[in-house]
Symmetry: C2
Subunit: 259 residues, 2 copies
């Protein structure tokens, strides 16, 4: 009884700093092989502030999630908030799409990024420190080649609505052309059944930043007569540059940064 009372007391007076305290249970189940720091602060700042600064493009060109925030980011990604935050973006994008007057010429397109936008690498990152471990292209590409990425449910919801409204879908991804087959199959397997273009990096694109590569491909689309009415991605490099689209939508991603 005393315990219940104090539990309710804590619930009703919980200070905001509680938000910085990740529960570690779920994460430890997923990756018992390594320890994870329980520090909610990085260089004296809360991981919550770090994440907001990342999402608003204030912190740029970062390599890995700060070690102190590994458990925090893991908790965010595996908990309810990542899904809720993604739903808020999808809701807004759908409301915007519904307000469009879609042309009858089939030239209105919506650009979708793939990784952490349409397909989720969370099963991979849950085993690799949620972005706190240095990126390993060998193991990551092996994971991609398995073709077992789940859909991001909120993006799939937007995708279906976009198609229903008569807007065409274009995927532009930083993946390379040798991954075309597995990427297309993975997309179809999880519900992204149709598109007019699936654009991957060619050999002439190697070394280009995502901003440059994606801007070039969007510009080609526009020069071909397409109108980019919407553009959604988890990286600012999906959404900045030229011909970004009439409106852009930024999905959350505190796990990695691509310039």
């Amino acid at each position: 009884m005393l315990a219940l009372l104090s539990f309710l007391l804590v619930l009703s007076t919980a200070p905001p700093s509680l938000c910085d305290r990740p529960p570690f249970r779920v994460i430890h189940l997923l990756r018992p092989q390594t320890g994870s720091s329980d520090g909610p602060n990085v260089h004296g700042l809360s991981c919550l502030s770090w994440r907001l600064a990342v999402e608003t493009d204030n912190i740029r060109d970062w390599d890995t999630v700060p070690m102190e925030c590994e458990a925090y980011v893991g908790n965010y990604m595996l908990g309810h908030q990542y899904r809720k935050d993604s739903a808020a973006v999808a809701d807004e994008a759908i409301a915007y799409a519904k307000g469009l007057e879609v042309g009858r010429d089939g030239k209105d397109v919506w650009v979708f990024d793939i990784d952490e936008t349409s397909l989720s690498n969370l099963p991979y990152y849950a085993k690799h420190g949620f972005g706190a471990e240095a990126y390993n292209s060998t193991s990551f590409n092996a994971w991609v080649l398995e073709g077992k990425q789940p859909a991001l449910p909120e993006t799939l919801r937007l995708y279906k609505e976009v198609l229903r409204l008569g807007i065409k879908v274009v995927f532009i991804t930083g993946r390379t052309k040798d991954q075309t087959r597995v990427t297309g199959a993975n997309l179809k397997n999880v519900g992204f059944h149709t598109w007019i273009k699936l654009i991957l990096k060619g050999s002439s694109d190697s070394g280009k930043t995502a901003v440059v590569y994606k801007s070039e491909r969007r510009t080609k689309l526009v020069e071909s007569g397409y109108r980019i009415v919407g553009n959604i991605g988890d990286q600012w490099s999906d959404l900045l540059g030229t011909n970004t689209g009439n409106r852009t939508f930024k999905l959350p991603d505190p796990m990695y940064y691509i310039s």
Copy 2:
């Protein structure tokens, strides 16, 4: 003892949804005159997700804070997280500024917005629903004319560092020229002692969006030979448009939206 144990138990297993639960004590002390909804959700979405979507420019052109989120926003603004989030932005801006090679010609400038960037209107908004009440220009302007706005401490910290590095300061604000004297006096009173330009809206600017007005003024600066090395504001309309500066910094502001 039992109570202490269960308190610790709750602390260590607090679910993320706790973050949506605002404690109302502080807010009620400030505005006992009106009731405030305790719903952490708006149209089924968490207020935390609403705020993130606002800060990332996914939700645009909104008039007021959703009624359901008034207490949540109030709690955020009056609690520790607003300050922490602002500190993360200031830290990043200072690190960036320190890495600059400042020219000896005195032409490197940093653009500061004023309201909710350099000076805080929180004492006003705490009495007006933290943005949940419709904007009232009469009462707001009366408040501004009192000239009693406190400095935002994290921005003041950045300001001092910018000056120390030899970068000049330019203020560009959506306030109108009739407020020049009170604005300058207020800035000086709270620690912003010097600037090379304090730019306010003239009569020819009325009706222009903030993006257009601020872009025009920044362009004039650049045409006069100034180099905008940094630009900080609480609104995306401070940071988008033309000649935005070599790098922009977005401070949090969940209370209002200016296009």
